[in-house]
Symmetry: C2
Subunit: 149 residues, 2 copies
Protein backbone atom coordinates (compact mmCIF):
# COMPACT_ATOMS: atom_id res chain seq x y z
CA UNK A 1 0.00 0.00 0.00
CA UNK A 2 1.68 3.19 -1.05
CA UNK A 3 1.78 6.65 0.44
CA UNK A 4 -0.77 8.08 -1.97
CA UNK A 5 -3.37 5.44 -1.26
CA UNK A 6 -3.01 6.04 2.45
CA UNK A 7 -3.43 9.78 2.00
CA UNK A 8 -6.62 9.26 0.04
CA UNK A 9 -7.93 6.89 2.66
CA UNK A 10 -7.36 9.50 5.32
CA UNK A 11 -8.79 12.35 3.29
CA UNK A 12 -11.89 10.33 2.63
CA UNK A 13 -12.67 10.35 6.33
CA UNK A 14 -11.66 13.94 6.86
CA UNK A 15 -8.44 13.10 8.63
CA UNK A 16 -5.63 15.50 7.90
CA UNK A 17 -2.88 13.38 6.42
CA UNK A 18 0.08 14.66 8.37
CA UNK A 19 3.46 13.07 7.84
CA UNK A 20 3.23 11.18 11.12
CA UNK A 21 -0.23 9.88 10.46
CA UNK A 22 0.61 8.69 7.00
CA UNK A 23 3.73 6.93 8.20
CA UNK A 24 1.94 5.24 11.07
CA UNK A 25 -1.04 4.26 8.97
CA UNK A 26 1.23 2.83 6.34
CA UNK A 27 2.98 0.69 8.91
CA UNK A 28 -0.17 -0.82 10.29
CA UNK A 29 -2.36 -1.03 7.23
CA UNK A 30 0.37 -2.42 5.05
CA UNK A 31 0.96 -5.57 7.05
CA UNK A 32 -0.62 -8.84 8.04
CA UNK A 33 0.91 -8.68 11.44
CA UNK A 34 -0.73 -7.50 14.62
CA UNK A 35 1.75 -5.14 16.14
CA UNK A 36 1.52 -3.59 19.57
CA UNK A 37 1.57 0.17 19.94
CA UNK A 38 5.15 -0.09 21.12
CA UNK A 39 6.19 -1.98 18.00
CA UNK A 40 4.51 0.57 15.79
CA UNK A 41 6.30 3.33 17.64
CA UNK A 42 9.66 1.67 17.13
CA UNK A 43 9.15 1.18 13.43
CA UNK A 44 7.78 4.69 13.05
CA UNK A 45 10.85 6.04 14.80
CA UNK A 46 12.95 4.64 11.99
CA UNK A 47 11.20 6.47 9.21
CA UNK A 48 10.40 9.70 10.99
CA UNK A 49 13.00 11.93 12.60
CA UNK A 50 11.00 12.19 15.77
CA UNK A 51 7.67 10.77 16.94
CA UNK A 52 6.21 10.73 20.36
CA UNK A 53 4.50 7.70 21.75
CA UNK A 54 1.44 9.84 22.33
CA UNK A 55 1.21 10.53 18.61
CA UNK A 56 1.33 6.85 17.86
CA UNK A 57 -1.45 6.19 20.32
CA UNK A 58 -3.49 9.13 19.08
CA UNK A 59 -3.16 8.00 15.51
CA UNK A 60 -3.92 4.38 16.19
CA UNK A 61 -6.98 5.38 18.15
CA UNK A 62 -8.04 7.75 15.42
CA UNK A 63 -7.72 5.07 12.78
CA UNK A 64 -9.61 2.67 14.97
CA UNK A 65 -12.46 5.12 15.48
CA UNK A 66 -12.66 5.50 11.74
CA UNK A 67 -12.85 1.80 11.13
CA UNK A 68 -9.54 1.49 9.35
CA UNK A 69 -8.12 -0.52 12.15
CA UNK A 70 -9.26 -2.81 14.85
CA UNK A 71 -7.94 -3.09 18.34
CA UNK A 72 -7.74 -6.37 20.18
CA UNK A 73 -7.07 -6.97 23.83
CA UNK A 74 -6.32 -10.63 23.71
CA UNK A 75 -2.61 -10.84 24.22
CA UNK A 76 -1.24 -10.41 27.72
CA UNK A 77 -1.33 -6.82 28.83
CA UNK A 78 -0.90 -4.74 25.73
CA UNK A 79 -3.37 -4.33 22.90
CA UNK A 80 -2.56 -5.25 19.36
CA UNK A 81 -3.78 -3.47 16.28
CA UNK A 82 -5.09 -5.18 13.25
CA UNK A 83 -4.85 -3.58 9.85
CA UNK A 84 -7.49 -5.83 8.41
CA UNK A 85 -10.87 -4.47 9.40
CA UNK A 86 -12.70 -7.00 7.30
CA UNK A 87 -14.54 -9.44 9.47
CA UNK A 88 -12.39 -12.38 10.38
CA UNK A 89 -11.83 -14.81 13.20
CA UNK A 90 -8.82 -15.19 15.40
CA UNK A 91 -6.44 -17.85 16.40
CA UNK A 92 -4.46 -17.26 19.58
CA UNK A 93 -1.32 -19.27 20.02
CA UNK A 94 -1.23 -20.21 23.67
CA UNK A 95 2.51 -20.62 23.77
CA UNK A 96 3.60 -17.37 22.21
CA UNK A 97 0.53 -15.20 22.61
CA UNK A 98 0.71 -14.61 18.88
CA UNK A 99 -2.47 -13.69 17.08
CA UNK A 100 -3.30 -14.99 13.62
CA UNK A 101 -6.26 -14.29 11.42
CA UNK A 102 -8.64 -16.99 10.37
CA UNK A 103 -10.46 -16.11 7.15
CA UNK A 104 -14.13 -15.39 7.68
CA UNK A 105 -15.26 -18.20 5.42
CA UNK A 106 -13.26 -20.85 7.19
CA UNK A 107 -15.74 -21.07 10.03
CA UNK A 108 -19.45 -20.90 10.29
CA UNK A 109 -21.53 -20.10 13.32
CA UNK A 110 -25.12 -21.18 13.62
CA UNK A 111 -27.70 -20.36 16.23
CA UNK A 112 -27.24 -16.60 16.29
CA UNK A 113 -30.84 -15.99 15.24
CA UNK A 114 -32.10 -17.52 18.41
CA UNK A 115 -30.35 -15.16 20.81
CA UNK A 116 -33.05 -13.37 22.72
CA UNK A 117 -33.35 -9.63 23.23
CA UNK A 118 -30.36 -8.57 21.28
CA UNK A 119 -29.50 -6.78 18.14
CA UNK A 120 -26.31 -8.25 16.80
CA UNK A 121 -23.81 -5.99 15.12
CA UNK A 122 -21.05 -8.51 14.70
CA UNK A 123 -19.38 -11.59 16.00
CA UNK A 124 -16.21 -13.58 15.76
CA UNK A 125 -14.78 -16.86 16.84
CA UNK A 126 -11.69 -16.89 19.00
CA UNK A 127 -9.83 -20.16 18.75
CA UNK A 128 -7.14 -20.99 21.22
CA UNK A 129 -4.44 -23.56 20.69
CA UNK A 130 -0.95 -24.38 19.57
CA UNK A 131 0.51 -23.91 16.17
CA UNK A 132 1.83 -27.26 15.06
CA UNK A 133 3.97 -26.58 12.07
CA UNK A 134 5.53 -23.18 11.46
CA UNK A 135 6.90 -23.92 7.99
CA UNK A 136 3.68 -24.61 6.20
CA UNK A 137 2.24 -21.64 7.93
CA UNK A 138 4.17 -19.12 5.89
CA UNK A 139 2.57 -20.56 2.82
CA UNK A 140 -0.85 -20.15 4.33
CA UNK A 141 -0.12 -16.51 5.03
CA UNK A 142 1.13 -15.86 1.57
CA UNK A 143 -1.91 -17.28 -0.11
CA UNK A 144 -4.08 -15.08 2.03
CA UNK A 145 -2.29 -12.02 0.71
CA UNK A 146 -2.99 -12.86 -2.90
CA UNK A 147 -6.68 -12.53 -2.44
CA UNK A 148 -6.52 -8.98 -1.11
CA UNK A 149 -8.09 -6.09 -2.96
Amino acid sequence: MDRQEIIELLNLRGIQPSAQRVAIAQLVLGTDEHPTAEQVWQKASESLPVVSRATVYNTLNLLTENGLLRRHALKGVSSVFDGNPEAHHHFVDEETGELRDIPWDALEVSGLETLPDSEITGYMVVVRGRRRNPTTDKIAQRSRKEGAT
Copy 2:
Protein backbone atom coordinates in the same frame (compact mmCIF):
# COMPACT_ATOMS: atom_id res chain seq x y z
CA MET B 1 -23.12 -19.61 47.77
CA ASP B 2 -22.19 -19.49 51.42
CA ARG B 3 -18.91 -19.28 53.22
CA GLN B 4 -18.80 -22.94 54.08
CA GLU B 5 -19.31 -24.09 50.52
CA ILE B 6 -16.50 -21.86 49.36
CA ILE B 7 -14.16 -23.18 52.00
CA GLU B 8 -14.87 -26.72 50.93
CA LEU B 9 -14.31 -25.83 47.31
CA LEU B 10 -10.92 -24.41 48.19
CA ASN B 11 -9.94 -27.29 50.45
CA LEU B 12 -10.82 -29.70 47.71
CA ARG B 13 -8.04 -28.28 45.58
CA GLY B 14 -5.60 -27.89 48.40
CA ILE B 15 -5.95 -24.14 48.59
CA GLN B 16 -5.63 -22.73 52.08
CA PRO B 17 -8.90 -20.99 52.78
CA SER B 18 -7.60 -17.79 54.26
CA ALA B 19 -10.02 -15.03 55.15
CA GLN B 20 -9.02 -12.99 52.11
CA ARG B 21 -9.34 -15.88 49.73
CA VAL B 22 -12.72 -16.91 50.96
CA ALA B 23 -14.01 -13.38 50.74
CA ILE B 24 -12.67 -12.87 47.25
CA ALA B 25 -13.85 -16.24 46.00
CA GLN B 26 -17.27 -15.59 47.41
CA LEU B 27 -17.48 -12.30 45.54
CA VAL B 28 -16.61 -13.77 42.19
CA LEU B 29 -18.17 -17.19 42.36
CA GLY B 30 -21.40 -15.95 43.81
CA THR B 31 -22.32 -13.72 40.92
CA ASP B 32 -23.32 -13.79 37.29
CA GLU B 33 -21.40 -10.64 36.62
CA HIS B 34 -17.96 -10.39 35.13
CA PRO B 35 -16.11 -8.02 37.39
CA THR B 36 -12.68 -6.60 36.75
CA ALA B 37 -9.94 -7.18 39.29
CA GLU B 38 -10.38 -3.59 40.36
CA GLN B 39 -14.06 -4.10 41.04
CA VAL B 40 -13.34 -7.20 43.03
CA TRP B 41 -10.77 -5.31 45.03
CA GLN B 42 -13.22 -2.55 45.84
CA LYS B 43 -15.91 -4.91 46.99
CA ALA B 44 -13.41 -6.96 48.94
CA SER B 45 -12.21 -3.80 50.68
CA GLU B 46 -15.67 -3.37 52.09
CA SER B 47 -15.79 -6.71 53.83
CA LEU B 48 -12.16 -7.01 54.83
CA PRO B 49 -10.33 -4.48 56.97
CA VAL B 50 -7.36 -4.39 54.63
CA VAL B 51 -6.59 -6.15 51.39
CA SER B 52 -3.90 -5.43 48.90
CA ARG B 53 -4.55 -5.39 45.19
CA ALA B 54 -1.83 -8.02 44.91
CA THR B 55 -3.82 -10.40 47.07
CA VAL B 56 -6.82 -9.93 44.87
CA TYR B 57 -4.77 -10.68 41.78
CA ASN B 58 -3.02 -13.61 43.42
CA THR B 59 -6.29 -15.09 44.48
CA LEU B 60 -8.03 -14.54 41.18
CA ASN B 61 -5.11 -16.10 39.35
CA LEU B 62 -5.04 -18.97 41.79
CA LEU B 63 -8.71 -19.63 41.28
CA THR B 64 -8.22 -19.38 37.55
CA GLU B 65 -5.40 -21.90 37.58
CA ASN B 66 -7.62 -24.23 39.52
CA GLY B 67 -10.41 -23.96 37.04
CA LEU B 68 -12.86 -22.27 39.36
CA LEU B 69 -12.70 -19.10 37.35
CA ARG B 70 -11.96 -17.96 33.87
CA ARG B 71 -10.17 -14.84 32.79
CA HIS B 72 -11.18 -12.89 29.70
CA ALA B 73 -9.45 -10.03 27.98
CA LEU B 74 -12.34 -8.82 25.90
CA LYS B 75 -13.42 -5.61 27.49
CA GLY B 76 -11.26 -2.58 26.87
CA VAL B 77 -7.95 -2.78 28.62
CA SER B 78 -8.58 -4.72 31.77
CA SER B 79 -9.38 -8.37 32.14
CA VAL B 80 -12.62 -9.56 33.57
CA PHE B 81 -13.15 -12.66 35.64
CA ASP B 82 -15.90 -15.08 35.07
CA GLY B 83 -17.27 -17.23 37.84
CA ASN B 84 -18.69 -19.70 35.39
CA PRO B 85 -15.90 -21.98 34.28
CA GLU B 86 -18.10 -24.08 32.05
CA ALA B 87 -17.41 -23.45 28.40
CA HIS B 88 -19.69 -20.75 27.07
CA HIS B 89 -19.83 -17.93 24.59
CA HIS B 90 -20.04 -14.23 25.21
CA PHE B 91 -22.18 -11.32 24.32
CA VAL B 92 -20.63 -7.88 24.59
CA ASP B 93 -23.03 -4.99 24.86
CA GLU B 94 -21.50 -2.25 22.78
CA GLU B 95 -23.21 0.51 24.66
CA THR B 96 -22.29 -0.42 28.17
CA GLY B 97 -19.32 -2.71 27.65
CA GLU B 98 -21.21 -5.24 29.73
CA LEU B 99 -20.42 -8.90 29.21
CA ARG B 100 -23.10 -11.56 29.27
CA ASP B 101 -22.84 -15.30 28.94
CA ILE B 102 -24.33 -17.23 26.09
CA PRO B 103 -24.86 -20.91 26.87
CA TRP B 104 -22.56 -23.23 25.02
CA ASP B 105 -25.38 -25.07 23.30
CA ALA B 106 -26.97 -21.94 21.91
CA LEU B 107 -24.38 -21.66 19.17
CA GLU B 108 -22.55 -24.07 17.00
CA VAL B 109 -19.32 -23.52 15.14
CA SER B 110 -18.39 -25.57 12.13
CA GLY B 111 -15.22 -25.65 10.12
CA LEU B 112 -12.78 -26.00 13.00
CA GLU B 113 -11.49 -29.34 11.72
CA THR B 114 -10.21 -27.69 8.59
CA LEU B 115 -7.86 -25.24 10.29
CA PRO B 116 -4.39 -26.11 9.12
CA ASP B 117 -1.41 -26.83 11.34
CA SER B 118 -2.96 -26.16 14.65
CA GLU B 119 -3.92 -28.06 17.69
CA ILE B 120 -7.04 -26.55 19.12
CA THR B 121 -7.47 -26.42 22.86
CA GLY B 122 -10.60 -24.34 22.97
CA TYR B 123 -12.72 -21.75 21.29
CA MET B 124 -15.58 -19.39 21.89
CA VAL B 125 -17.81 -17.08 19.99
CA VAL B 126 -17.83 -13.42 20.92
CA VAL B 127 -21.00 -11.69 19.80
CA ARG B 128 -21.18 -7.95 19.80
CA GLY B 129 -24.32 -5.91 19.77
CA ARG B 130 -26.97 -4.07 21.66
CA ARG B 131 -29.33 -5.46 24.16
CA ARG B 132 -32.81 -4.51 23.06
CA ASN B 133 -35.43 -3.31 25.44
CA PRO B 134 -35.66 -6.36 27.67
CA THR B 135 -39.25 -5.94 28.81
CA THR B 136 -41.08 -5.64 25.54
CA ASP B 137 -38.74 -7.98 23.87
CA LYS B 138 -38.91 -10.89 26.19
CA ILE B 139 -42.50 -11.34 25.25
CA ALA B 140 -41.91 -11.17 21.55
CA GLN B 141 -39.00 -13.54 21.79
CA ARG B 142 -40.59 -16.03 24.07
CA SER B 143 -43.36 -16.82 21.66
CA ARG B 144 -40.80 -17.73 19.05
CA LYS B 145 -38.51 -19.61 21.31
CA GLU B 146 -40.53 -22.19 23.17
CA GLY B 147 -38.76 -24.93 25.11
CA ALA B 148 -35.56 -23.26 26.23
CA THR B 149 -34.24 -23.29 29.77
